[in-house]
Amino acid sequence: MTVTTFKLNLGPQHPSTHGVLRLILELEGEKILSCEPDVGYLHRGMEKMAEKMTCVQYLPTVDRIDYLAGFFYSELFIRNIEKGLHIEHSKKTKAIKVLLLELNRIASHLLWIGAFLMDLGATSPFFYAFREREMILRYFEKLTGQRMMYNYFTFGGVRRDIDYLEDVEDIIKILPSKLKDYERIITKNPIFISRTQGKGILDIKTAKNYAITGVNLRASGVNYDLRSFDELYRDIEFNPVIRNEGDSLSRYLARVEEISESIKIISQLLDYLKKAEPLKQNLINPLTMRLPEGEYYSEIEAPRGLASCYIKSTGDEKLYRLKWRTGSYYSVNLLRKLLVGNYLNDAIAIAGSLDIILPEVDK
C-alpha cells in the first residue's frame, strides 16, 4: 500500500480564519503532517507610514493595528512618545486610561468567545457575546464618538473628561450574570469540552521558545502578566489568571476568568472616578512637538499578548524608525508546530483558541 500525502489550502477566505490567514497544510488522510502559514494579505505598511508622517498624523492610524483593541495600541504609542518627553500623568488620567483599557479588553475577549464558539459550530453564543459587547461599544461611542477606532488618548492625556459612568456601572452589574450563563451553556457543554480538552496542548518550553505571551502563555502555567509591572496599574489590585493545562479549554477558561478580573479592576476605579475633581491636564501642542534624539521602548499587556513599540528618533519631526511587536504574529508562527499530528477538524479549533487577529499580524 502506498501512502500519499497532499497539500490543502486553508484560507485565505475561510470564515474561521478570522480575516485573511492562509495555512498550507500537508495532509496524510486527515492527519496534518506540516503547516506553513502564509500571512501578508492585510499589510498596510504601518511601520513605513510612521516614517512618512509626523507623530500627530500617525496617531489615528495606530488604532487600526488591532481594530478590536484600539485603546491598547494608541496607549502604547503615546506612552513611548511621552517617555522621551518625560510626562507625568495625574491620578485621574491614569484611572481613565485603565478603565477604558480594561473595558476594551473585555470587549475583545467577548468577541473572541463568540468567534471561537462559532469555529466549533455553535452559533448562539456568538449572538450572546455580541449582545454584551454591544453595551461596551455603545459606551465607547458615547464617550469618544467612535465604536472601534477611538483616537481618544492623546499626547499628554485624554481628549476629554470621562463621562456617562452610570453606563459603566450597568455594564459591570450585568456582565457577571451573563458570565454565569456562559458557564451553563458553554463550559458545561460536553460537546464543547470534548472538542477542546486535551487538544492543542502547549507546554511551557514550546511556548517560551515560540515567544508566546499573554493569555496563551498564562494558560500554559507561566506567571507573566505585564500589568503586574505596569506603572499604570500600580495601585490596582488584581490577580493574574494562571492555568496549568495548556490546552484549548484552559485558554478559553483563562479568557473568561480574565473578564471577571477586568470587572474587578473597573469596579475599583469607578468609586474614585465618580468622586474625582474635573480633569486638569497639560496637553502637548503636537505641531511643535519633537521627540528628542534616542531610542525608546515600551510594552503593554494587550488582549492578544505582549505588544511593544520601538522608536528611534533623530530629533526630527518624523520618526526615523518605528517597530511594532504584536502577540498574534507569534501565535501564527506557533501553528507550524501546534497543528502537526492533529486532525484537520481540530485545526480550526486549535488555531481559533490562540485568538489570532490578522490586522495585528500583517501590520
Binding site: G45, E51, N209, Y210, A211, Y310, R325, Y329, R336, K337
Partner: protein, 145 residues
C-alpha cells in the same frame, strides 16, 4: 544578574546602559544567553537601517526569572547568522526583516517575501529605497486625476 560569566566568554562585547553591543559571534552569544543564563525567551528582533548599507539588528531577550530584559545589538551588512535553531520564534522575525530590509539569514530556509508581493523589487524600510513600482497609484500616470 551576574554578567561576569558573560564577560569572560565575550570579552569584546560592549555593555552600555540599555544594550549589549557585539561585533561577531552572534549565534554563540544568543546560545550562551539562552542555555547558560536564564534568558529563555526571545521577545522580538528589531532591525534598524543605520545608513551606509548597514543594518543594526537588536535581539530582545527576556527572562521571567526576575523579569529581566536584555537587548543584544549587532550590525550586519547583507548577511547575518540565523538563530532559528535556538529560538523558533526567530523564524517569524527573520522573515520579516528579510522582507522589509533585505538581510539574508544564512541557514534559515523559510525566508520569503511575506508582506510584499513575491516579485517586488527593493526593501521598503531601507532608507535608500525609492518607490518606483508602477503598481503604486502615485507612480502610475493612468491613476493621476
Amino acid at each position: 544578574m551576574n554578567y561576569n560569566d558573560f564577560k569572560t566568554y565575550f570579552a569584546d562585547a560592549e555593555v552600555t546602559e540599555d544594550k549589549v553591543i557585539i561585533k561577531d559571534r552572534l549565534h554563540d552569544t544568543i546560545e550562551f544567553l539562552a542555555t547558560k543564563m536564564p534568558f529563555d525567551m526571545l521577545k522580538e528582533i528589531t532591525a534598524v537601517d543605520s545608513g551606509n548599507g548597514e543594518t543594526e539588528i537588536i535581539y530582545h531577550m527576556y527572562s521571567d526569572d526576575g523579569n529581566e530584559d536584555l537587548f543584544v545589538s549587532t550590525t550586519v551588512r547583507e548577511e547575518a547568522e540565523t538563530i532559528t535553531d535556538i529560538f523558533k520564534s526567530a523564524i517569524a522575525d527573520e522573515n520579516e526583516i528579510y522582507d522589509l530590509f533585505g538581510v539574508k539569514f544564512n541557514g534559515n530556509e523559510n525566508l520569503k517575501r511575506i508582506y510584499m508581493p513575491e516579485d517586488w523589487e527593493g526593501f521598503p524600510l531601507r532608507k535608500d529605497y525609492v518607490e518606483t513600482d508602477e503598481r503604486l497609484a502615485w507612480n502610475n500616470d493612468s491613476h493621476n486625476v
